[in-house]
Symmetry: C2
Subunit: 221 residues, 2 copies
């Protein structure tokens, strides 16, 4: 995909991102420049560059003259992000309903079929992969490159949380039927219908997750 050798700072940013996503750090943890530098075997310079990349996506907060601290979103902020994701997806759907190509519609149906197969096998990983394909096709078919980029950005940030939410009982099956509604609306060229279907589809994910997290908190207290 890219024959270009990435700069060291880039790969470090990616690795740190993975670490934070996978729960390697708690909310508020300070990222020690010197410790991480020797851990990665580089100097502080590329690390500081990596920190800025992370700050840009909101994964860490840089406080001047204090340091950088990981920022794991709480239940409320997560719900807010899912709400925005729902709006972006709705917008993609509205545009895509008017602009989507026949071949893209076929791709959508194909991804959906593979999703269905994954549900039958209860294969969470496969489902997750095809689900992502499904959504990215819609982003692209919005015909708005900026919208597509923004949607992908937020989609990526919500990735680790969406996954947990899928584990809820019956969620995969429900999600599938929502996908089918989306495809139908896009096929009919119903812009508002597609927008509504996508908004609800994504918003429900956020709400489920919100309940999940809120529930955990209550249980822990």
């Amino acid at each position: 995909m890219s024959g270009m050798e990435p700069r060291r700072a880039d790969s470090i940013a990616q690795e740190l991102e993975e670490l934070i996503f996978s729960g390697g750090f708690a909310d508020g943890d300070r990222l020690d420049e010197v410790r991480l530098a020797e851990q990665f075997g580089v100097s502080r310079t590329p690390l500081r560059e990596a920190f800025q990349r992370l700050a840009q996506t909101g994964l860490v907060e840089q406080i001047p003259r204090r340091g950088v601290f990981v920022r794991q979103p709480g239940a409320v902020e997560l719900l807010e992000m899912f709400e925005v994701m729902a709006e972006l997806e709705a917008a993609c759907g509205r545009y895509a309903a008017r602009r989507i190509s026949d071949s893209a519609l076929d791709d959508l149906r194909e991804a959906n079929a593979r999703c269905k197969a994954a549900v039958e096998r209860a294969d969470l990983d496969a489902y997750y992969l095809e689900n992502e394909r499904f959504h990215k096709i819609i982003y692209a078919q919005s015909g708005n490159g900026f919208l597509e980029t923004e949607a992908n950005r937020l989609h990526k940030r919500l990735k680790p949380f969406r996954r947990q939410q899928l584990r809820l009982r019956g969620r995969m099956r429900q999600s599938m039927s929502e996908h089918e509604t989306v495809v139908q609306m896009l096929t009919e060229g119903d812009a508002e219908g597609a927008a509504r279907a996508l908004r609800d589809h994504v918003a429900v994910q956020g709400e489920k997750f919100h309940h999940l997290v809120a529930g955990l908190k209550t249980a822990a207290s």
Copy 2:
């Protein structure tokens, strides 16, 4: 507002931002690290930090081992950005219709009245300022902090372009009447109506601007 001394890199990023916004650089121009460093009287290190800030907001593009290049959006990309802005504002409006407080509604009416006064005086600067207040109130009243942040981010980026578009004949007056529709919808708690009014209000700005730029290009060729 902030008693905190900003780091040097921050202020440099801001200055560069201003420079790019105000047309100090053309699309594709390369930002020379050493030249700018001595121009600002600092070393390359804080400049490189500043570059990353700018890359994050999309003002410049960093190409590994090549350098950073300013990226002035063209007519198409600008239209795309306005379309996304329209969707974000519509979302703010939809939420705000259910959540807005009475005092915020008063603030909105007040800002609108000052807008009107500015139109009468044909005072572009005053109009622009109050218009911004108007929109930011709606972002805040969405009750979704993440949405508010994202809306403000894009709003800021579109700032220099929105301004030019206001110069079109009759645009300020039209914009005013659109504002009044928005206030009415929010007062009535009509979520979909507020969303539609705001989407149209912002989308038309993008379209006007698109025509404006496209027209310039055609005339120049």
